[in-house]
Amino acid sequence: MVFFEMTKTALKSVLSKPATILYPFEPAKKTDLSRGHVVFDGSKCISCGICMKKCPAQAILVTKEAKTWQIDRFRCIVCNSCVDTCPAKCLSMDTQYTAPVSVKGVEVFTITYVKPVKPPADKAGAAGE
């Protein structure tokens, strides 16, 4: 017959520091790998649209003509699939979670990447030789 088995644990809890943190006043736990939200760098995006095709939640929409990259944060499941597949490495994962908002909507970014003229000219030159 064992009674008051919990007393040991309860006493320990009384004497030790709290296991929780006072969240809004203290920052939440994070690690280097934490998947928070996707960050887009418009200056590197080559508008290939692979992220859009590989997104399991269909949260990303790339418009080549309008030069925009948009993401619906409410659809995004933060799976890191777009970051892994991006050939231009313009996407990265931030450890900070998306801030709460009161209105649903999409975030639109402009693609500012300009295709460098030099490399193709070089290639053409090389082919010519």
Binding site: M6, T9, A10, R35, K54, V78, N80
Partner: protein, 359 residues
């Protein structure tokens, strides 16, 4: 002849936040029949295979469940690998075992907490979840996600764990073991807990086996099978003992889960010791053409991922048979003849994960 009345249980119930509805037919305080109904949150995952490429479906398969997510993802990947004849690198297989076992630890600790809450031991509930936080921390440090790890992929895993990290993890396991020992002693030895759980909701071995009970629900009744014994992944190179108990009551199911915690930490230690160096993934080309029933052991029991490919990048069919779905018929059988006041404890004792059930 006493009058029969029907008392509804769920889909919203204080003890079980998940939507399962049971119509309990009562005679006085005794339940004489229970009619389950599910389908409140059916998400149509199995239909999604027609719209998503099989590689992306890994992420969706993983999100079938919020607790045993990694095992869902890994099992789906294994099914595809079997069809496509992909040999997964050794290191990836060991990593999968490590993450699977951490998932099991976190699931069992979660359940122990919820179970303590169901029989009215709030302090124990918080104690269990405090320990679980340790496990979640490791999962987040190694994969980037607390409950949705997202680290399985077809052909291997997406992330590696460095040698130093593995050593640190093994060191942490000793502290974890000590804390879990204190916790499980309360569950298994304390007289008030025993009094609440002993001889409540008895399921015989015969019933457990033939009604399709799986996992701790079956092992608590003495039906000794654990799919890890089939040796998928790296399990064939690790030693572990099956945990079974013969009574078949709520206490037995609790005991099986409590002891499995230590099996899991032991498996992680072995895997961390044996893990070889090498690549963590292989390149996957082509598309699956064929079918396979992949079975794996989840914290709740046997999981079946049936995948049928037709040679295109969209699968023809994916069927996920989750352990809770098959644990519902035994639950109905256990409920017949029990007291109304015991219903919440019994329902929780099979570790229902209804959201899992409604793929």
């Amino acid at each position: 002849m006493t009058k029969q009345i029907i008392v509804p249980f769920g889909p919203q119930h204080p003890v079980l936040p998940e939507p399962i509805h049971l119509d309990l037919v009562l005679e006085d305080e005794r339940v004489i029949d229970a009619v389950p109904s599910i389908g409140y949150i059916h998400r149509g995952f199995e239909k999604l295979v027609e719209k998503r490429e099989f590689t992306e479906y890994t992420y969706i398969a993983e999100r079938t469940c919020g607790i045993c997510s990694f095992i869902h993802g890994a099992t789906y990947c294994q099914a595809i690998e079997q069809i496509m004849n992909i040999e997964v690198p050794e290191r990836a297989q060991y990593l999968r075992v490590i993450w699977s076992e951490y998932s099991r630890l976190h699931s069992h600790l979660l359940w122990l907490g919820l179970f303590a809450d169901a029989f009215g031991f709030e302090n124990l509930f918080m104690g269990a979840w405090r320990i679980r936080e340790r496990v979640l921390d490791v999962l987040e440090q190694t994969t980037g996600g607390r409950v949705i790890q997202g680290s399985a992929k077809i052909g291997g895993v997406r992330r590696d764990i460095s040698g130093e990290k593995l050593d640190a993890m093994v060191k942490d396991l000793d502290i974890l073991d000590r804390e879990m020992k204190d916790l499980t002693t309360v569950f298994l030895e304390d007289e008030s807990v025993k009094h609440r759980l002993r001889n409540v909701g008895i399921l015989s071995r015969e019933d457990a086996y033939h009604l399709g009970a799986v996992g701790p629900t079956a092992r608590g009744s003495g039906a000794a099978f654990d799919l890890r014994m089939t040796g998928y992944g790296a399990y064939d190179r690790l030693n572990f003992q099956l945990v079974t108990d013969s009574c078949g009551d709520c206490y037995s199911r609790c005991l099986v889960r409590a002891k499995e915690l230590f099996t899991s930490t032991d498996l992680i230690r072995q895997a961390a010791k044996k893990i070889p160096d090498g690549p963590i993934d292989v390149k996957v080309t082509g598309a699956p053409n064929g079918e396979f029933f992949m079975r794996a052991e989840q914290p709740r029991g046997e999981l079946v991922h049936y995948v049928k490919g037709n040679g295109t990048k969209f699968l023809a069919r994916s069927r996920i048979r989750t352990p809770t779905l098959t644990n519902i018929p035994p639950l109905v059988k256990i409920l017949q003849g029990c007291e109304l006041a015991d219903v919440p404890v019994i329902v929780l004792s099979i570790d229902p994960c209804i959201s899992c059930t409604e793929r």
